[in-house]
Amino acid sequence: MHIEVAPRRAHRIGLTPLIDVVFILLVFFMLASSLLDWRGIELATGSTPADRDTPPPITVTVLANGSIRYDGGVYEDSAEAAALMQARIESGEASAVVVEPDTGVTLGPTVAAFDALAGAGIEALGLGQGR
């Protein structure tokens, strides 16, 4: 007996549903993901007990406009202040620099000053208790 096989219909998958889904995925990833370049500052803990031999740290105050008060002078250019501090650390007079925010100073200028000092080559940096 001969059974006639129905000719197979070429079945084409439509592209339109695919495009719909891809568009939705695209919109989802565009809205949900962030392209920010995240960085991190390790904040030294204040719990390490100071050695008796270790010289005291230098304390600098960050003012609201982002300038640094150090040793009686106000430095708008943090590189200048950093060079002075670096010299003191190298001579063994001080061990580290503690950045203290002045009253009411927000995090923005404080972190900027912290970052500028780190960029100027000071490695031992800490964030001090503000007033």
């Binding site: 439509g14 592209l15 695919l18 495009i19 891809v22 568009f23 995925l25 695209l26 990833f29 565009m30 949900a32 993901s33 962030s34 392209l35 920010l36 370049d37 995240w38 960085r39 991190g40 500052i41 390790e42 904040l43 803990t45 204040g46 719990s47 960050v62 925010p101 009253t103 009411g104 100073v105 927000t106 995090l107 923005g108 404080t110 972190v111 900027a112 912290f114 970052d115 780190a118 960029g119 964030l127 001090g128 208790q129 503000g130 007033r131």
Partner: protein, 132 residues
Amino acid sequence: MLLPLPQRRRDTEENILPLINIVFLLLIFFMVAGALHTRAPFEVEPPGTEHADDSNPDNQVLAISADGELALGGEALERPALTARLREREGDTLLQVKADSGLPAAALTDLLGEIRAAGIPRIRLLTVHRGE
């Protein structure tokens, strides 16, 4: 007068293939280059730095808004609850903090002291790289 016959329209699916190619490329770009993070229920605008090291936020970031609102891992909580939650963490020594640049710095150092008291030895403040 003899008008030219309208050309037979080509298959529309063939016409949108370049579009699909581009959309696919965009999709792959956003999937690879973007990062999905848990978001705090409030707006946080982190401070910018130029010299800080790379650091990818994990899913247990402590977010602090400019008004001092707190959220751990995208879930808002109050200050007493925060220390309780931090005490539960064991073996996990690093806590990432994403604080708004408008937050008074004294409020942050205050809170950091409390976090350290709750037994978190390492704290990393997250910032955004600012191009030179």
